[in-house]
């Protein structure tokens, strides 16, 4: 899932300082599961903001709503009757949801209440580990199901480098070396030959804004054509 963390409270206060009436918009999907921007987090943030603005002698009127998904136009439409009442929208969705909200209501300032950090797994309650950088050419098939793009600190395709330290990455004894793990897993599976050939220079796919069209589908503007 996509994981995010609430921004430092002071930063949110600063973003909102010029607004008197703000709608806080949560998202019921990834950010709710990772405890950053679901219904509960919206309620907590609003009560903290309410109190802080009162103390600062600059009261704010806050509304709250949590959509099923902010990355889905259908759910964003639900807000159409409400947004006019507010000076600004404070989104607790991931970066994708925040932008889609801003795109749907371009006349309103849309502000982020979270920092989105990536595609991660839930290792225990409240603890997430990044696993994918969406490189668009997945190599997990020959790396034993361990992503070197994400898990190797240098994103090497022909690791491990010379910095591997007792199975840890050179950057931190707490950080396992991705290539050490890849080697271990492939060795156990008898697939070490997978990494004996050189992986040649990568043609990066993420250097331009990407779009994706599934087979049999078209861009919306082409549909009528």
């Amino acid at each position: 899932m996509i994981v995010a963390k609430r921004k430092p409270f002071d930063e949110i206060m600063e973003l909102l300082q010029d607004y008197k009436k703000v709608l806080t918009v949560g998202c019921g999907t990834c950010v709710a599961v990772c405890l950053a921007g679901g219904e509960k987090e919206v309620a907590v943030l609003n009560s903290e903001l309410d109190m802080a603005r009162k103390l600062a002698d600059n009261p704010i009127e806050l509304g709250s709503t949590t959509l099923e998904r902010q990355c889905d136009r259908e759910y964003l439409d639900e807000l159409a009757s409400k947004v006019d009442e507010y000076d600004a929208l404070l989104s607790m969705a991931c970066g994708v949801g925040i932008q889609f909200l801003a795109e749907r209501y371009p006349e309103k300032p849309v502000l982020p209440a979270v920092d989105t950090s990536g595609l991660a797994v839930n290792q225990s309650v409240g603890f997430y580990e990044e696993r994918c950088r969406s490189c668009q050419q997945c190599v997990l098939g020959w790396t034993g199901g361990i992503c070197p793009v994400t898990m190797c600190a240098k994103g090497l395709y022909n690791g491990p480098c010379g910095g591997t330290n007792l199975g840890s990455c050179e950057i931190d004894p707490e950080q396992p070396c991705a290539w050490y793990m890849i080697h271990e897993r492939l060795a156990k599976q008898g697939r070490i030959d997978n990494i004996k050939n050189i992986c040649s220079a990568v043609g990066w796919k993420d250097t331009v804004p990407r779009t994706l069209i599934q087979p049999g589908y078209k861009k919306p503007e082409e549909e009528g054509a």
């Binding site: 994103g155 022909n158 910095g163 591997t164 007792l166 070396c177 004996k196």
Partner: protein, 314 residues
């Protein structure tokens, strides 16, 4: 493919190795500023004492005078640089541009490295480039040299003829993978290897034995990395703080046992003993002496290690 004279690059290092001499290379770290004198002063100690001088590239991710610029200073002084290039700081365009540039100015050797992570250095928040990795860099330099083509496929006018080097660390896990990694570097096109500093001789002997058995040491030249210990503190620091470094307790004990004021001399003695063993070791073709900030000691070490005078190969 080779140049008309049978050499891939015609560098002094290549000539020395090809003639079957035991090579001896040194290292020089460029200054944290613009002082050319500092480079030249260090270079003077190495002149005539080593076959080529590695010029480090923002080593340990700390900003220094660029390795190409310091390499050119050496060329002007009549020393042969081994131009180091890390994948951390440049993308493939900048790398290829720099390779053309240094070659134009007389650089003939290159060492292709991944580079330490920026986290260690003086700009820990810098974004690492790693557009290509060290393996891909080796392959790119080989393609430029032997096929006369850029990575993107276009032809190069007057391709750069570079003697291609890389590093190997026999002391980083997984140990049994390290010879295979060396083999990959050979497949990528490496001509010579300079190893990580060696202290654990048992592990190194083991590594070379496997490399010999795999036939790897016939396909590229291996220069064993040696760094003399200056003090007990340095040995402990290397052991505990430098990732991928293997300093056995015996090394530290021997330094601790040295008389007061004689620790550095003991360190040099240990390095010379190592060099003596490497001269006799099958599959080792030379020594790379990394006496960082100790360049003035190199002539003395070379003398004591009996690697002087350096061979002249035409």
């Amino acid at each position: 493919m080779s140049t008309d004279n049978g050499y891939k690059s015609g560098s002094n290092l290549e000539k020395v190795l090809k003639a079957g001499h035991f090579a001896f290379t040194g290292e020089l770290g460029p200054p944290r500023g613009t002082g050319a004198e500092e480079v030249l002063e260090k270079a003077q100690h190495l002149k005539g004492v080593v076959d080529a001088v590695n010029i480090t590239d923002n080593q340990t991710a700390v900003v220094r005078m660029s390795s190409w610029a310091a390499s050119l200073l050496l060329v002007q002084e009549g020393l042969e640089p081994n131009f180091q290039m890390v994948c951390r700081d440049r993308n493939r365009l900048a790398m290829q541009g720099d390779i053309l540039g240094v070659y134009t100015h007389g650089v003939r050797n290159m060492l292709c490295l991944s580079g330490d992570h920026a986290k260690f250095g003086d700009h820990p928040d810098a974004k690492g480039v790693f557009d290509i990795d060290s393996m891909q860099l080796i392959a790119m330099v080989k393609q430029m040299r032997d096929e006369g083509k850029f990575l993107g496929g276009a032809d190069i006018e007057h391709p750069p003829k570079i003697f291609i080097g890389a590093a190997a660390n026999p002391f980083a896990e997984p140990y049994d993978w390290r010879p295979h990694r060396l083999s990959k570097k050979i497949d990528a096109g490496v001509d010579f290897i300079q190893t990580q500093c060696i202290y654990n001789m048992d592990r190194f002997r083991e590594f070379i034995k496997v490399a010999n058995d795999m036939g790897l040491t016939e396909k590229c030249y291996i220069l064993a990395g040696v760094t003399p210990m200056k003090s007990v503190g340095m040995a402990k620091y290397m052991k505990n703080k430098v990732p991928g470094m293997d300093v056995p307790d015996d090394t530290i004990k021997r330094l601790q046992g040295a008389e007061k004021g004689k620790v550095a001399a003991e360190g040099i003695k240990m390095a010379c003993e190592q060099i003596e063993e490497f001269k006799e070791m099958d599959g080792v073709h030379g020594v790379h002496l990394m006496a960082i900030e100790w360049e003035h000691k190199v002539p003395e070490i070379a003398e004591q290690a009996k690697v002087l005078p350096r061979p002249q190969v035409d």
